[in-house]
């Protein structure tokens, strides 16, 4: 980074050992002081919750944080871009999106009236697929699917990294899934309530303990039944800005069954797909998406994974996460996506304190 402080990667042990040989000294505080300042100037986690910065400008002021006037010619080009995007692309996309969403709501409600049967399932799949495709067109989405032979099978659990609500549409564009996700209000809530009538999606309230058990129960039933649609889950639990993969919540990995990992990587050059839910609500987010140039992304279907002997849920989750991160070219962070909203657990801080004091004691300073 272009930091004012040159971020030093030496370990705590080496650095403090370099300062003195034995005994606690005044100097020890300096190491932590510096680390603290490095964190204040720039920390790894918060970086992931704001949009990726582009190396070269793509004529969208929103992606250029350092925006300032460069030249008249560039401004003119940018101005033309604005006109094209807002006056031409936006109305087109908006119309398509309206058609898509309305069809989805109406279609699934109608299909939902039918009694459960194979006809209903077939029609539900048809409605979902068609509407997804309309919606992807509405966003000018260009999606490259890789390794289609690994597409998630029935009775499996599909797991992917999460960047925006569009992820679901990107995947349902190519196949049908039973979705698992947080209940939302507003337009999203309406869509959720309509679609759940036609297809057994699982929408839950995260804070409801009862709901969490319901999800686990549903997942277990699901995995046992090979005729059910694959379940789609985003184990990070929140939207990350597509440069890294955060901790996977272990719930989905405790069930057993076959996991089909999928990596989604958006090309930020054409439009920023990341939804910063603390900054924008869903409607303004969609507006930003629809006034970008396009949504271009790569989807990699990866070979199925199962839990190994002696592997616990957390290790399994990390293994899957590594595979996804590697495929998508994303970095892995040991942090919990929940940090977007909550504070770090005390256990982390205690860890660091423990390390330091262990080192001190080892150096023979006690007694």
């Amino acid at each position: 980074s272009q930091g004012i402080i040159e971020r030093d990667e030496t370990t705590m042990e080496k650095e403090i050992a370099g300062l003195h040989r034995v005994d606690f000294e005044f100097s020890d505080i300096f190491y932590f002081c510096r680390k603290g300042f490095e964190a204040i100037v720039e920390d790894e986690v918060t970086q992931r919750f704001s949009s990726e910065e582009l190396v070269s400008w793509n004529l969208l002021t929103r992606t250029n944080v350092n925006f300032h006037y460069v030249s008249l010619w560039l401004t003119v080009v940018w101005g033309v871009g604005v006109v094209v995007r807002y006056c031409f692309l936006l109305p087109l996309r908006f119309t398509l999106a309206t058609i898509g969403i309305t069809s989805m709501i109406v279609g699934t409600t109608v299909v939902g009236q039918l009694p459960n049967s194979s006809v209903k399932s077939y029609l539900s799949e048809l409605v979902h697929l068609t509407c997804s495709r309309i919606l992807v067109r509405a966003l000018s989405g260009t999606i490259h699917y890789h390794n289609k032979e690994n597409k998630p099978q029935k009775g499996g659990i599909c797991v992917a990294n999460h960047t925006s609500p569009i992820d679901a549409i990107i995947l349902t564009n190519d196949g049908c899934y039973a979705m698992v996700g947080q209940v939302h209000g507003g337009l999203m809530g309406v869509i959720q309530r309509a679609t759940v009538k036609a297809c057994p999606h699982v929408w839950f309230e995260r804070s409801e303990v009862k709901d969490r058990h319901l999800v686990t129960k549903r997942l277990r039933e699901h995995v046992a039944d090979k005729s059910k649609l694959p379940i789609l889950i985003f184990p990070e639990g929140t939207c990350i800005n597509n440069t890294s993969v955060m901790m996977f919540k272990k719930g989905s990995f405790e069930i057993g069954g076959t996991i089909y990992p999928v990596a989604i990587k958006y090309d930020p050059q054409f439009g920023d797909a990341f939804w910063n839910s603390s900054k924008y609500n869903i409607v303004s987010y969609l507006l930003r998406i629809m006034t970008s140039w396009a949504i271009v992304c790569d989807v990699w279907y990866m070979p199925p994974m199962v839990r190994k002997e002696g592997e616990d849920a957390v290790q399994f989750a990390n293994r899957v996460r590594s595979a996804i991160a590697q495929q998508g070219g994303l970095t892995e962070l040991p942090w919990d996506g929940g940090l977007k909203r909550a504070k770090v657990k005390d256990t982390f801080r205690e860890e660091q304190q423990k390390n330091y004091s262990k080192m001190l004691v080892r150096n023979g300073s006690v007694g």
């Binding site: 272009q2 300062l19 005044f26 932590f32 510096r34 944080v65 925006f67 504070k343």
Partner: protein, 207 residues
Amino acid sequence: LGESTGLPLSALSHPTPVTSDQVEHLHRRFKQLSNDKPTIRKEHFDSIPDLEFNPIRCKIVQAFFDRRNLRQEEDGLVDEINFEDFLTIMSYFRPIEPNMDEEQLQRFRTDKIKFLFHMYDSDHDGIITLQEYRNVVEELLSGNPHLEKGAARSIADGAMLEAAQTCVGPMGPNQVYEGITFDDFLKVGSGGAVAGVLGAHSVAPCA
């Protein structure tokens, strides 16, 4: 079109040899921490996960609000700081530039050591007493459940004793060692190492 930092470098009341790029970077960071408000309060530092790791987190955050570090005449703590104050504190961590002369270098080092002195001296009386020193050591070691309660204290006491011997020389049986003054701190704190850890040995990467 365009946005500026809203803060011309010349407005800063004391010389801060940082590049305008670095100032912009820090300004963005400031806005991020303050949620786009003009001032930061202590609570705003809660949103930095990496900082949570740090055992002396409280002292570090407090350093930002310490009037002495902000080069103000009065004593005590302020409630909130603006971007200029933020830059002032950040400037204590500037690396040494190769073209500094001897006098600048000396002043630089002294400033940094003073900053750390203030961190120990929590009651702002200019002396680090035994109790204040104990507080710091305890904070640093607080996370380890295996360390007995007395251990932190004995470490602190040992270090203070050594400091006393270095600064005052052998003391008589009735002499009381008040505490470490700033001059003593300069002697004990192995100045070179101090400045080193604070980044004085690395050259500023003007990327």
